[in-house]
């Protein structure tokens, strides 16, 4: 379980997270949606302990970060590290040393090449492979489907469902609503740092329609496409 109570986060005078209260339970997949700048990544960084914040984040294991697999939106890779070495580095960091990395190369990545030469999608797949091999209890995946080919997205969606089956907590953000509706049990909507709405699977269709109406508004007419 992860419980977030009265979470506030400010950068200078700007309040980027305002009174967030959320609870994440084992064996469930949660989606966090919101426009760019809504506070999704900051929320993830707070949960990971990468940011200072006001309020509290409680978990049933301590420290939470040692059991958390964090996929950043844009993972960083050193210029001369191979794919295999990157995975080994992340696994070593969690004391997972006896892993046959070649055997676990689920996305068929060229693991002996430098990770910096990978395409955007390949980099993301490499980062996902590494955090999956860390055998974390909690997973935060910030935009995992972004830039990844359709075949790998299918694999990834199945992996998320498998993680749910394994009683893990998975928290995902995505700009592609269908990827969330396929995998999530709950979706939380953030806007300008505020928790606007939390919906269950049955209400996903309504939420999508609501978001669509709210997002589009009269912007298209205003743009006056010719």
């Amino acid at each position: 379980m992860i419980k977030i109570n009265r979470l506030h986060k400010t950068y200078g005078n700007s309040e980027v997270l305002k009174n967030i209260n959320l609870e994440f339970s084992k064996g469930k997949v949660y989606g966090i949606v919101g426009e760019n700048g809504a506070g999704k990544t900051t929320l993830f960084r707070c949960i990971a302990g990468l940011e200072n914040y006001d309020g509290e984040i409680i978990s049933d294991v301590n420290p939470l970060k040692n059991h958390l697999g964090l996929l950043l939106t844009d993972p960083f890779f050193f210029s001369r590290i191979t794919g295999k070495e990157y995975i080994r580095l992340l696994c070593n960091a969690r004391n997972k040393t006896n892993i046959d990395i070649d055997d676990k190369n689920i996305f068929d990545l060229p693991l002996n090449q430098y990770a910096s030469t990978y395409s955007t999608g390949m980099k993301k797949k490499l980062a996902i492979t590494a955090i999956l091999l860390q055998e974390n209890e909690y997973l935060i995946l910030d935009e995992p489907f972004n830039g990844v080919d359709i075949q790998s997205n299918i694999i990834l969606a199945e992996i998320i469902l498998k993680l749910k089956e394994l009683n893990k907590i998975v928290i995902i953000s995505s700009h592609i609503f269908s990827t969330l509706s396929d995998t999530c049990d709950y979706i939380h909507l953030l806007r300008k740092g505020e928790q606007i709405k939390s919906v269950e699977k049955l209400e996903f269709k309504n939420l999508e329609q609501e978001m669509k109406t709210m997002t589009i508004g009269n912007r298209i007419e205003k743009f006056d496409l010719k």
């Binding site: 302990g49 993972p75 960091a93 090449q113």
Partner: protein, 308 residues
């Protein structure tokens, strides 16, 4: 095309400003530095003109990078892309051609200009799929990345050791050993992105212990061939050789601790000065090491311990 070059000019000015220098002053300083450096090279070596040509060509290869030329092609079309590339290469060549003409190397100057125009028609991949193997893949990071960046240093150091033995010069042998240590220090010069510290399920103490132990093993692996050769050929001086080996390790530990004592910032003047003092007076390391260690523990605590 005019807009493109204006934008390049604006971007160059921005870079100079970011370095804290007035752009005009930056251009003047670069010109003076270029003239003085060229003059120095021509005084020091007879191969100076080839160095000038090679430096100029290496800059032009960078401009011919595939992604860059693809961007120019898709933005401006083939004809303008070719003109831009030729113009860029000619602009880059001008100072180098001028130096060659000033030094009466007219043939080389003409040749350089012709090659510059020819190179403008080609694109080159700078990212190769080949990865240099290293003995550090089991615990990858500083040494596997660093080794690949500085791999050319190691044959030089080993050859110097052989020369040192042939010439009976122990100092040169010790220098080659310290060259490898110095190279290893450079692997810890820059702080890594915070994710790579955060990801460790370790206390700051264990984190530092593992970093130091891995670095000690890896640096020793690189130094041991030289150490053994020196001990075989200079058995009487074994105390001196081992002392330098130990000093090398002590400095390696100091650099690692200094790095994390400033983390996530870069090592700066205070850390640099303390290290510099201890180069003059190595026993100072015994005081500096615990100081950096305690500071590192505090800094790492932010990233490694949960704040919940």
């Amino acid at each position: 095309m005019k807009d493109y070059f204006y934008l390049q000019f604006v971007m160059t000015n921005r870079k100079i400003k970011e370095a804290g220098i007035n752009p005009l002053l930056g251009f003047v300083l670069s010109f003076v530095a270029f003239v003085l450096l060229s003059e120095y090279i021509f005084q020091k070596t007879e191969f100076a003109k080839y160095l000038v040509i090679l430096t100029c060509l290496s800059l032009q290869f960078k401009l011919s990078e595939k992604n860059r030329t693809d961007f120019l092609l898709s933005t401006f079309g083939d004809n303008i892309k070719k003109k831009i590339r030729i113009f860029e290469n000619v602009i880059v060549s001008i100072p180098f051609v001028a130096v060659l003409i000033y030094k009466n190397a007219f043939i080389e100057a003409t040749l350089l200009l012709v090659i510059a125009i020819i190179i403008a028609s080609f694109s080159f991949y700078t990212n190769f799929n080949f990865s240099i193997p290293t003995p550090f893949s089991k615990r990858p990071f500083e040494f596997s990345v660093g080794f690949r960046k500085t791999f050319f240093i190691f044959p030089v150091a080993y050859i110097l050791t052989v020369i040192a033995i042939n010439m009976g010069n122990l100092n040169l042998g010790i220098f080659s050993m310290m060259l490898i240590f110095l190279t290893s220090f450079s692997y810890f010069a820059k702080p890594e992105q915070e994710y790579y510290v955060w990801v460790h399920a370790e206390t700051p103490k264990t984190f530092l212990k593992n970093k130091i132990s891995t670095a000690t093993k890896n640096a020793s692996l690189l130094v041991v061939p030289i150490l053994i050769i020196l001990l075989i050929f200079y058995p009487i001086e074994f105390e001196l050789i081992l002392l330098f080996f130990l000093i090398g390790l002590l400095f390696l530990w100091t650099i690692i601790l200094a790095k994390y004592s400033a983390y996530p910032g870069e090592m700066n003047l205070p850390e640099g000065m303390l290290i510099a003092f201890s180069i003059y007076f190595p026993p100072l390391l015994l005081a500096i090491l615990p100081f950096f260690y305690n500071k590192s523990i505090k800094k790492l605590n932010v990233f490694l311990n949960d704040k919940n």
